[in-house]
């Protein structure tokens, strides 16, 4: 089983990327964890460029999603929504609609913010976008508000209840991926 982790934040010290790393720690040893690091290289979506072969950064992203059994997203909140770079990347992955790499893919969304609410609106927005693309969005929300006070210097979540929520979300994601693999088998 392979889980692709996509952080909507590009910043090197990103709390969302740290949240994904915290999730990695909670995965069973047999699950491969791959952190996607190509978001910044994805060009702005332009239908004129959406041809074969796809731009290399797009092909890499689509390939990474296609190879994964599940995708875990962590998003910050910019102006009550998801970062433009993340939405842009999803717009690329969503094409072509009928066969896009996210179609039926089990996905889960978590988020961190420096403010109080842990990117809840952005998470809701991201779930909506992923569902519209055709992904299998699992229930579960992890909203890490006041992130600087809840993540230690090693990127570990210091809050037990958040840690539990993250664990539950990961389990729901892996269950969904497992049940999908049985259907496809």
């Amino acid at each position: 089983m392979k889980v692709l982790a996509i952080s909507g934040s590009l910043r090197s010290g990103s709390y969302n990327t740290q949240l994904l790393r915290a999730a990695e720690e909670l995965l069973p040893p047999e699950v491969d964890f791959v952190l996607y690091e190509g978001l910044k290289a994805v060009p702005p979506y332009d239908e004129d460029d959406d041809v074969q072969p796809a731009p290399p950064a797009v092909a890499a992203l689509r390939g990474a999603v296609a190879e994964a059994d599940a995708v875990l997203f962590a998003t910050p909140e910019y102006n009550s929504s998801i970062p433009g770079s993340l939405k842009n990347a999803l717009d690329w992955v969503s094409r072509p609609p009928a066969t896009n790499a996210l179609r039926n893919k089990p996905v889960a969304v978590v988020g961190a913010s420096t403010g109080a609410f842990g990117a809840v609106w952005a998470q809701a927005e991201l779930r909506k976008v992923l569902a519209a693309i055709g992904a299998r969005v699992v229930d579960g929300e992890v909203a890490v508000g006041h992130a600087p006070t809840r993540v230690d210097e090693h990127g570990r979540l210091e809050d037990e209840s958040l840690q539990e929520q993250l664990q539950e979300t990961i389990e729901a994601l892996l269950d969904e991926a497992e049940s999908r693999s049985l259907i496809l088998a």
Partner: protein
């Protein structure tokens, strides 16, 4: 009243297979300011009126949903709507068929997205005619209304005034031509 009994007729005895080309299974639901319709290209059905209790059973492949936009078709097959990967078919099987004149009432169970619910379809029957190809065929026109939320098909999108853009109530229609099995 004896009139009801007097006008009640049996279904044409025999087993009947679907002519899928000249049959349609579709749906209609209010969306935004009008009604949205779609149909399923791949359908199957059979009418077995050979025994004491006639049975109509049919199914439609979710992946064959036919709407005018490929993005919409893809969305309809996603977990937001029918979840075609997990639930590839919609199906119906009757438990009871009542006929009065050319009116039919068909009760049975409909399964959408893995959820089976009781349903009553009403409509008409066209008694067997000889077709130009040496066969014998009859026609059924049936419809019913369901609440899609009962089947977990609960996607919606809010209008600017906060009201839902897509109605809960969906009309299902079946126009079926059956050919007598040899």
């Amino acid at each position: 009243m004896s009139i009801t009994t007097d006008t009640r007729q049996a279904l044409p005895v025999g087993t009947w297979s679907l002519d899928p080309v000249h049959s349609t299974i579709g749906f209609e639901v209010d969306y935004l300011a009008g009604a949205f319709r779609g149909q399923f290209r791949e359908i199957a059905a059979r009418l077995d009126a050979s025994g004491e209790t006639p049975v109509i059973a049919g199914s439609a492949k979710v992946a064959s949903v036919d709407v005018k936009d490929e993005n919409l078709s893809a969305h309809l097959q996603s977990p937001d709507f029918f979840d075609a990967e997990r639930y590839p078919e919609l199906s119906f099987e009757s438990s009871e068929i009542e006929r009065q004149g050319d009116r039919l009432t068909v009760r049975g169970g409909i399964t959408i997205k893995g959820a089976e619910r009781p349903v009553e379809l009403t409509g008409t029957i066209t008694d067997p005619i000889a077709d130009p190809y040496g066969g014998e065929r009859l026609g059924l026109k049936l419809e019913t209304g369901i609440n899609r939320n009962e089947f977990g098909v609960d996607w919606n999108s809010a209008l600017p005034d906060g009201k839902p853009s897509l109605a809960d109530d969906v009309k299902l229609t079946a126009e079926l031509q059956f050919v007598r099995e040899a």
